[in-house]
Amino acid sequence: MTDVLVIDGLSAGYGPLRVIHDLDLKIKSGERVGIVGLNGHGKTTLLYAIAGLTGWQRGSIQLNGVEIGRTRSQGPGRYTHQIVRQGLAIMPQGDEIFNGLTVEEHLDSGAFTRDAWRNRKFRKQRVLDLFPPLGKLMGTPVGRLSGGERRMVSIGRGLMTDAKLYLVDEPSLGLAPKISQSVMEALFSLDLKDSAMFIAEQNVALLEGRVDRVINMHAGKLKGEASSSLSLSKTHG
């Protein structure tokens, strides 16, 4: 069990606003970690800070032993593609997708490493096995899909490469309960091998008992960790 992600003293925010306050976090390989918290308490900002997408940030972030955090005062997204190439897969909140591209082109765009691009056929099939409804839609522009199908595309895009760390931001947001259940099911059924998954979610019930630990986030700080659903209720109480 090696540490996939080590965050040490991370602060991040936008302009004058400081959202994340001196945060420390460790995620080991093979782990599925959930992070819960109310709206506006910094879950998305934490994921964005790992990807270098916040307005400014400082503190150390190590992905698989490589330092990817840096002190920045501007230029959100300037280094994101390099960080992503280090082995980070981001499945962002909402629909960060390319409306005019077809589902197939979308999945191709996720295969950015040379290896992934070479055997993208096989990888696409793997995504289709996970999300069978996408099979019929390969030639359709993503802008015409329903919300659930878009979420499948955006998650499938993240699965096209061999990431060390999967960042999943609110996979159930805006979806009907039944569909969000199936999306979560797909995330849980993925064989992580030596990688790790970090899921931000508001609906604790969807995570309960399915992830290795759940971290509670409050006002830009981590408040307590729980290893099972039993102690999860303790951190809330």
């Binding site: 501007q74 997204g77 960060e96 390319f98 409306n99 082109e105 765009s109 996720g110 950015f112």
Partner: protein, 293 residues
């Protein structure tokens, strides 16, 4: 002064301005940069082709290749000097416009200092032959210009559709934020975009030099027309730019044969203003989903 003559001229003009307009359009939608540096790219490519024809060979293919290559190099220079340092700073759109305009003026002055004010002529590429098709005389240079421009446009469109770099560029056109999330580097893609659009402007310069001369400031009019055609077609849309190029090419050809060449800019801009009054976002600005934020 018959209609076929006007139509023919329209197609020739449309194919040249269309190249620049599509280049402007692609740069805007993928990089968010209104590149006013194409004026310089245009003259630079013209001089590149002229150097090739004076010092190496007068064969059409190498001269044309030299023009395209010079345009691509010049595009990359603009990318390195303006786009890469400025792209993630605030107010990038305005700064980028000012920066590229400055490069255009500086570069054209540098060409003036280097090569002097005398205009240079390029050799005729397509010979002087002509084909008579049912009463319509098609001269070789017209056919050549239209064919070359169409081939280049088709190449760019298919490259954007089929290749991996094209996929990256299209992804960036639709959602730059999501593009960085999937690992597409904005700066690297910027270099590809500027190289290929610079090459397009370079070809336009070489083709236009079949009618006009190569001079330090010869890029100014094509730049103004290219940008306004791109604006008229709906910035960011390749189809729109081509439609607008056809409309304005026809306006130019009709005006110059019916009223006289001095009225061309007047009627052209009247048409552009009319189009923009009725479709403020350009001809296909509403059809296209690109950069709709």
């Amino acid at each position: 002064m018959d209609i076929t003559f006007v139509l023919l001229n329209a197609v020739v003009i449309a194919s040249i301005y269309g190249l620049i307009a599509v280049a402007v359009s692609i740069t805007w939608s993928s990089l968010g940069l209104i590149n006013l540096g194409y004026g310089f790219v245009f003259s630079f490519a013209g001089y590149g082709a002229w150097l090739m024809s004076t010092y190496v060979t007068k064969m059409p293919a190498p001269v044309m290749a030299a023009g395209i290559l010079a345009g691509a190099i010049c595009g990359v220079i603009i990318c390195l000097v303006v786009f890469i340092p400025l792209h993630d700073k605030s107010n990038f759109t305005t700064r980028g416009m000012v920066g590229t305009l400055a490069i255009s003026l500086l570069g054209s002055q540098a060409l003036l200092m280097n090569f002097g004010p005398r205009a240079k002529a390029l050799p005729e590429f397509f010979g002087t032959g002509s084909v008579n098709l049912g009463g319509i005389v098609l001269t070789a240079d017209r056919i050549g210009i239209v064919v070359c421009a169409t081939v280049m446009l088709c190449f760019v469109v298919f490259w954007m559709k089929g290749s991996r770099r094209g996929l990256e560029i299209r992804a960036m056109m639709m959602n730059p934020h999501a593009a960085s999330i999937v690992g597409i580097g904005i700066r690297k893609t910027g270099i590809y975009v500027m190289a290929i659009t610079g090459g397009m402007a370079g070809l336009a310069a070489v083709l236009l030099s079949q009618t006009y001369y190569v001079a330090p400031f010869s890029g100014l009019t094509p730049l103004i027309k290219g940008v306004s055609i791109a604006l008229c077609g709906g910035l960011g849309s390749v189809q729109g730019a081509i439609i607008a190029a056809v409309i304005l090419g026809f306006t130019e050809a009709a005006t110059s044969s019916l009223l006289g060449g001095q009225y061309v800019l007047i009627t052209q801009f009247l048409v552009i203003i009319c189009i923009l009054i009725f479709r403020p976002r350009g001809i296909s600005g509403l059809l296209d989903k690109a950069r709709e934020q």
